[in-house]
């Protein structure tokens, strides 16, 4: 176990997928233009954040069709509410909040819907990710377990979590967002984020115990 861990680079050192890759001042300028009705400026904002918003929604729903619809709807909502955006937070945080709330509403109203586990959704890089290859070949007691099975187990475990816990895990453990930023998005205090994260991890640990011990 420790050998495997030692070979892996620290989690925090990895480039976070949510780190703002774009200039915030450019965002502000685009927001101002969009607020005056410039749809092209809003297009630019959509292009900047579409992948992150899509990924957020996808990890909360485990369904690509829903993720596509909900992400687009979140941007449409953002456009409609843009006139009320005062700039107290970054556009990025604001649009994330819209997407999270929209997805949570969707999940609450459509609980009975069957989720499609994304078995075919692992990209090519996953098979070549040294960490994951090691994790499966050395750590897993069932050595014949493959990435697909692992992905399936992960998604099943995620879907067992409550929506609130899944959101926190998605934002922190998958998207690499800090507690404070998550607290801003969810409009709660960082302590709540930490406690939700702690509880969610306990549950995940129990459900994925054969991969962990």
């Amino acid at each position: 176990m420790s050998g495997v861990i030692a070979l892996m680079e620290p989690y925090a050192a990895r480039p976070s997928p949510t780190q703002p890759a774009t200039d915030e001042s450019a965002d502000r300028s685009l927001v101002r233009q969009a607020q005056s009705g410039d749809l092209n400026a809003f297009d630019e904002l959509v292009v900047r954040y579409q992948e992150r918003i899509y990924a957020l929604v996808y990890h909360m729903t485990s369904n690509h069709e829903d993720a596509n619809d909900l992400a687009q709807e979140a941007f449409v909502k953002a456009w409609k509410a843009l006139k009320n955006f005062k700039g107290d937070s970054s556009f990025y945080t604001w649009v994330y909040r819209i997407a999270v709330n929209h997805t949570l509403n969707h999940l609450k109203t459509r609980r009975s819907r069957t989720h499609h586990i994304s078995l075919n959704d692992l990209d090519f890089n996953a098979e070549h990710d040294p960490d994951l290859v090691q994790l499966i070949s050395h750590k897993n007691p069932r050595r014949d377990a493959n990435l697909r099975e692992l992905g399936e187990r992960l998604n099943a475990a995620m879907l067992k979590l409550s929506e609130e816990h899944r959101t926190v895990v998605t934002l922190h453990d998958i998207q690499g967002m800090p507690h404070d930023e998550i607290a801003q998005i969810l409009e709660c205090n960082p302590g709540t984020v930490r406690s939700r994260l702690f509880y969610a991890r306990q549950q995940l640990q129990a459900w994925l115990s054969d991969f962990l011990s």
Partner: protein, 161 residues
């Protein structure tokens, strides 16, 4: 139960596997265009539905739609009826004089109405107004022939004692 630090780290790494669940390349090529299309269609729908607020029954229920359709049909029928019953327009009248009704005959001899020359100066005709006075001669006030045609009744003389 607090997860062991090692387990927690492995758990994080497991969760990181989900980062690889990405859509195929090119998936987002059309994404912003689709968002734009949604925005534009939403705005078009909002503009198109502006007149709906004037409907007495607004909503999506079929019976409301039927009520609106019924009201619409009634209004259309009224409009068509009004179009057919519309009176011919009366020329503008300046109120200075009233010409005698020409050609009216109340059982007497025909009363010739004023000639256009006599009317000249009594009132001003609107531009482009053309009229023609017609005098209908009444030759007799007798009953028209054959008005009371009835079969002859057999009448026998009564012999009083």
């Amino acid at each position: 139960m607090e997860p062991l630090p090692e387990d927690r780290d492995v758990l994080r790494r497991l969760m990181a596997l989900k980062r690889h669940e990405t859509p195929p390349p090119g998936y987002f090529r059309d994404f912003s265009r689709q968002v734009r299309r949604r925005i534009e269609s939403d705005e078009a729908a909002l503009n198109a539905s502006g007149w709906r607020k004037y409907l007495p029954f607004s909503g999506r229920l079929p019976q409301w739609r039927s009520a609106n359709a019924l009201i619409g049909a009634g209004l259309a029928l009224l409009a068509v009826t009004a179009l057919f019953l519309r009176k011919p327009s009366v020329p503008a009248w300046n109120g200075r004089a009233e010409p005698k009704a020409a050609g009216l005959n109340f059982g007497g001899l025909p009363q010739p109405g004023p000639t256009p020359a006599a009317l000249e100066g009594s009132f001003r005709l609107p531009a482009g107004f053309a009229y023609r006075l017609e005098f209908i001669p009444a030759t007799s006030n007798a009953l028209p022939k054959g008005l009371f045609l009835a079969p002859p009744l057999p009448v026998e003389p009564v012999n009083w004692p």
